[in-house]
């Protein structure tokens, strides 16, 4: 008995001779996705490596192969890192308020060292003497 196949406008699909009625719907096992790697891209020489996303791959070599095209196919890249996602350590969400504990630490910012006015004042005062 001949099964009916899909006549598609897409010649690629017509060639595949897909049956119009499905007898098998593929289903994956959950957590079937290899390892997850995070991808860091450097866009210009000397620039920071910036996190741009992730890829699923069975090992580092394939992860690099995938990351290069998924994240580097547009624009310029001069470097790329990958790291297994589970190697990334972050400050737990409940502890991010640690950042709030130091709201006023002007002494380590440039804004705290504006002495130009003082110099001008000094020059003015001394000229007047």
């Amino acid at each position: 008995m001949n099964k009916q196949t899909i006549e598609s406008l897409d010649p690629r699909i017509s060639r595949a001779q897909l049956p119009t009625e499905v007898d098998h719907i593929p289903q994956y096992e959950v957590l079937d996705q290899f390892v997850t790697y995070e991808v860091f891209q450097q866009q210009k020489s000397g620039g920071h490596f910036i996190h741009v996303g992730s890829v699923h791959a069975p090992n580092e070599e394939i992860a690099l192969l995938f990351a290069k095209e998924q994240y580097g196919r547009r624009g310029k890249s001069v470097g790329m890192w990958i790291a297994p996602t589970n190697a990334i350590v972050s400050i737990p969400e409940e502890d991010v308020d640690m950042f709030d504990a130091t709201p006023e630490k002007k002494y380590r910012e440039v804004g705290a060292y504006m002495v130009r006015n003082r110099v001008e004042q000094y020059k003015k005062d001394n000229r007047n003497e």
């Binding site: 010649p11 699909i13 996705q33 290899f34 996303g53 069975p58």
Partner: protein, 328 residues
């Protein structure tokens, strides 16, 4: 590309009542301050569920969206078009990858999402259930469907869930290439030979209704949509986005001397609002429920791709490898 899909989930208001009121208030306050939610932040169960559903449908729409234009990948006329179409279809696959990752950060693995796509349990944008009959259809899709998608995605990129916003930002950058390519393609046909011009007009006629459906039916005010708006999951009403589309693109269609198959379409110069004819919302519902011209084929093709790739994936599986949820 993407379109608003019916994301209605009526249970949403009830579930909310079970959340810790203090946490819920802090969550809302954070969103109100314009801050974004990261994967490991506390979030209401309904927020998580709604986002998974939305991002997942978006991802499916990208991967299925590769098919109508893919129809012409072996027939694109000339080097420039052939390369650009390949790059565009490739981008759609790339967008699916980014979006599946974003949805995964909420706890649903890619495989589970693909399973749900293949069984028909989860949906994708209706517009991809229509056929690309001629080369000109790909031009109209690349210009106007991508234009509609950009309106939708730029709006959503201002939402509250950080991984989705980040994915959308990148996607929008790439889509702007699609839009330019599509416009260039439409202009070339519209200003070309009489045959080319007829081709593009016919394609526009075919795609107009699906484009109207793309943004979804006019929203009905509900508790549900009110909460989603407050959570910055839904960022604009379907009609607002449709109006924006009219404003930006109808004049561009008309200046090419092309027409839109809707005699009622006009702009009220006083209110600035466009009125349009009923695009047959019953058809929209029929297609969502599986009865569109290409629903069967699209799913069959996706299943074929998965079946054909099964041996590759099986060969790569390592018993020691352990899946991890993407970072962000």
């Amino acid at each position: 590309m993407y379109g608003n899909i019916s994301i209605v989930d009526q249970a949403i208001g009830k579930k909310n009542a079970q959340e810790d009121p203090e946490k819920l208030a802090a969550f809302q306050a954070k969103i109100d301050r314009g801050e974004k939610i990261e994967p490991h932040d506390w979030m209401p169960a309904d927020y998580r569920r709604q986002l998974i559903r939305m991002i997942e449908q978006h991802a499916h729409s990208e991967i299925i969206g590769a098919l109508p234009e893919g129809t012409w990948i072996t027939r694109a006329p000339g080097f420039k078009r052939k390369m650009a179409l390949m790059a565009k279809v490739q981008d759609e696959v790339g967008h699916a990858q980014l979006l599946y990752n974003a949805a995964e950060t909420l706890g649903k693995p890619r495989e589970e999402m693909i399973n749900d796509l293949l069984t028909g349990k989860s949906k994708y944008s209706n517009v991809f259930n229509y056929p690309a009959k001629t080369w000109a259809d790909t031009a109209v899709i690349a210009w106007l469907i991508d234009a509609a998608a950009i309106i939708n995605q730029v709006t959503n990129s201002k939402g509250s869930y950080a991984p989705y916003c980040r994915a959308l930002e990148r996607i929008c950058q790439e889509e702007s290439f699609h839009l330019k390519y599509g416009y260039d393609n439409v202009v070339t046909l519209a200003t070309g030979t009489p045959t080319q011009r007829a081709m593009v007009q016919e394609a526009l006629n075919r795609w107009w209704r699906p484009i109207m459906h793309f943004f979804g039916p006019p929203d009905i005010a509900s508790v549900h949509s009110e909460i989603l708006t407050r959570w910055k999951v839904k960022m604009a009403s379907n009609d607002d986005m449709r109006q924006q589309f009219f404003n930006q693109y109808v004049p561009k269609i008309w200046e090419l001397g092309l027409t839109v198959p809707d005699p009622e379409l006009r702009k009220d110069e006083v209110t600035g609002k466009w009125s349009y004819g009923d695009p047959d919302w019953d058809e929209f519902k029929r297609v969502i429920n599986g009865d569109g011209p290409c629903n069967k084929e699209r799913l069959a093709v996706r299943r074929m791709a998965e079946i054909n790739g099964e041996w590759v994936r099986n060969a790569l599986k390592k018993p020691t490898a352990k899946y991890t949820v993407p970072l962000s």
